[in-house]
């Protein structure tokens, strides 16, 4: 349930579902997202331009020439969310090469976590992750939860250019940089797999909220010869 609604500037509504990150709260965010998406499609509400679900927030952007904060807030408060929407959640396997030229932040991680690289990788690969959301850049999945022993803060100053395919960790989460972009996560490797496909107009992102992901390690040779 939405705990609090406020404004994010003059063109967005900020729906706060709580401060914790867990599958229950996240599922509630996703329910709202699907429900409002359908109302937009059915033209039951006008002026909404974007919905951004995340771990425990839903941001609703709108066109200020058509509607305003008060109208959208009233609309959200009047909703009864239907929880029947079935999703087709998938299990996805993603290869990662963790050689030093791809794992950019092992020096930082081993220092901060006080664990050696092999142990970090062993812990990292030995887990199935849940996709809470996609975003930041096209198709980037936000996955959780990392084992507590390998949780580390974001970089103090974000990198200006994170290589495409970089696989990162921060706090309890793992992600994949689907495009070259600025970014602040600790990079442990790189995947050759296509995680975002703009030719697939209906579902461009390989990983979607609710999906389960397993990573597996590949050698540099396998990485360089990767073919899809």
């Amino acid at each position: 349930m939405v705990k609090n609604i406020s404004n994010l500037g003059d063109t967005a509504v900020y729906c706060d579902f709580g401060s914790e990150v867990n599958e229950t709260i996240n599922s509630s965010v996703i329910d709202y997202f699907h429900h409002i998406s359908k109302l937009i499609k059915d033209k039951k509400i006008e002026g909404i331009t974007n919905l951004t679900p995340s771990y425990n927030k839903l941001i609703i952007s709108f066109d200020l020439t058509i509607t305003d904060y008060k109208k959208i807030k009233n609309f959200i408060e009047g909703l009864t969310i239907n929880r029947d929407i079935k999703s087709n959640n998938q299990k996805i396997k993603i290869p990662v090469c963790c050689d030093d030229e791809y794992g950019l932040d092992f020096l930082r991680l081993t220092k901060k976590l006080n664990i050696d690289k092999n142990k970090i990788l062993e812990i990292y690969f030995n887990k199935e992750y849940f996709c809470y959301m996609t975003g930041f850049i096209a198709g980037m999945p936000f996955l959780g939860d990392l084992n507590e022993s390998i949780r580390c803060d974001r970089l103090e100053t974000p990198r200006l250019k994170m290589p495409k395919g970089s696989v990162g960790i921060t706090e309890q989460f793992a992600n994949i940089y689907t495009f070259e972009s600025p970014g602040g996560w600790n990079i442990i490797g790189n995947t050759p797999k296509k995680i975002f496909d703009d030719k697939n107009l209906n579902q461009p992102a390989l990983v979607n909220p609710g999906d389960k992901v397993n990573f597996y390690q590949i050698t540099k040779e396998e990485y360089l010869n990767w073919n899809e």
């Binding site: 406020s6 404004n7 994010l8 500037g9 003059d10 063109t11 967005a12 900020y14 401060s19 990150v21 997202f33 937009i40 331009t49 974007n50 919905l51 951004t52 679900p53 995340s54 771990y55 425990n56 927030k57 839903l58 941001i59 952007s61 200020l64 020439t65 305003d68 904060y69 959301m133 996609t134 975003g135 930041f136 850049i137 096209a138 198709g139 980037m140 936000f142 803060d153 974001r154 103090e156 100053t157 974000p158 200006l160 921060t170 706090e171 989460f173 689907t178 495009f179 972009s181 600025p182 602040g184 975002f196 703009d198 107009l201 461009p204 992102a205």
Partner: protein, 317 residues
């Protein structure tokens, strides 16, 4: 039948196609894109009698050198731009912004540079012959979506023009007042109370410098370090154009049209919608100040902004 097109003889710094932007894709991580300066984008279209949502060529700093092939067109440029028209007979004419011109086969437009601004817009009567991706013509270079395989233009690329029958548009002009303002109005962000009283004082009272790290994603500022007393990381959540994030180093970043759709740095403020065109045009080395307004004030300022835009658009009728 051969279509008219521009041949790119010099690409310029960041030349792309932009329009109103691409909606309903934040949830997959695709930003809105679209013209950084929406008012000037619309004005360029109006000057050549287009629908206001036709795609235009957006350029930054140094613009492109374009040669017209296979046709005759009317075009206009909006912004604060220094450009020339090089006629086929090599006669050079100085170009004026907010004014429509006729270009013959073999003529060139040399967009030399922006002046006290970053972006400018080139529109041609009838628009460009391009396809929409997810409802928009905008090139998103971060996700490689849109015309030209989602990449900025390079030398020898071609930009095709839709219209075949030439229509002369003469004497279209807008008397546009290209004044800039260094006071940026903001609404408190959702993490405003993460910052110390001292940081808030500095935020509203001291100067912030636009650094060289400026692009369509955002603007990195340099100023007094804004001390965070709660947490320098938040759980990643949605952001919108105009959000001002403050990473752990204490230097704010203003998000623009190609911004990441979610972010994990605290939001001290959000630039009001009416000031987004202005913010996007800020150039490195400029000093700015932030001023707080209420949501209600922001909405009224936006009404005035819309009225102003319409005034300019109507002037051109």
């Amino acid at each position: 039948m051969n279509k008219a097109y521009f041949e790119i003889l010099r690409a310029g710094v960041n030349t792309t196609i932009q329009d109103k932007g691409r909606n309903h894709l934040y949830h997959v991580g695709i930003a809105v894109s679209g013209a950084i300066d929406q008012r000037n984008y619309k004005l360029s279209n109006r000057l050549v009698e287009n629908q206001l949502n036709e795609p235009t060529v957006e350029f930054a700093y140094q613009g492109p050198l374009l040669k017209l092939k296979n046709g005759k067109i009317s075009f206009a440029i909006s912004g604060d731009i220094f450009f020339k028209i090089i006629r086929k007979n090599l006669k050079v004419e100085g170009g004026e912004c907010y004014k429509s011109y006729i270009l013959d086969e073999g003529d060139q437009i040399d967009i030399i540079s922006t002046k006290n601004s970053t972006y400018g817009y080139l529109a041609v009567n009838g628009g460009f012959d391009l396809e929409k991706t997810w409802g928009s013509y905008s090139i998103n270079t971060k996700a490689n979506i849109g015309p030209n395989d989602g990449k900025k233009y390079s030398i020898n690329d071609k930009i095709f023009i839709k219209k075949m029958d030439f229509r002369s548009i003469k004497n279209k002009k807008i008397n546009y007042d290209y004044s800039t303002d260094n006071i940026i109005r903001i609404i408190r962000g959702t993490n405003f109370d993460f910052f110390s009283k001292d940081a808030i004082d500095k935020f509203f009272n001291e100067d912030f410098l636009i650094t060289n790290l400026v692009d369509r994603m955002g603007i990195r500022l340099k100023g007094p370090k804004l001390e965070n007393i709660a947490s320098t990381n938040i759980k990643s959540e949605g952001i919108v154009r105009g959000v001002i994030q403050v990473p752990a180093d204490g230097n704010p970043i203003i998000m623009l049209s190609d911004h990441g759709t979610v972010g994990g740095y605290p939001k001290i403020g959000v630039v009001i919608a009416a000031d987004l065109d202005l913010v996007g045009q800020l150039t490195p080395g400029t000093k700015i100040n932030f001023k707080e307004v209420s949501l209600e004030e922001a909405q009224n300022i936006f009404k005035a902004y819309t009225k102003d835009t319409n005034k300019y658009l109507n002037e051109c009728n």
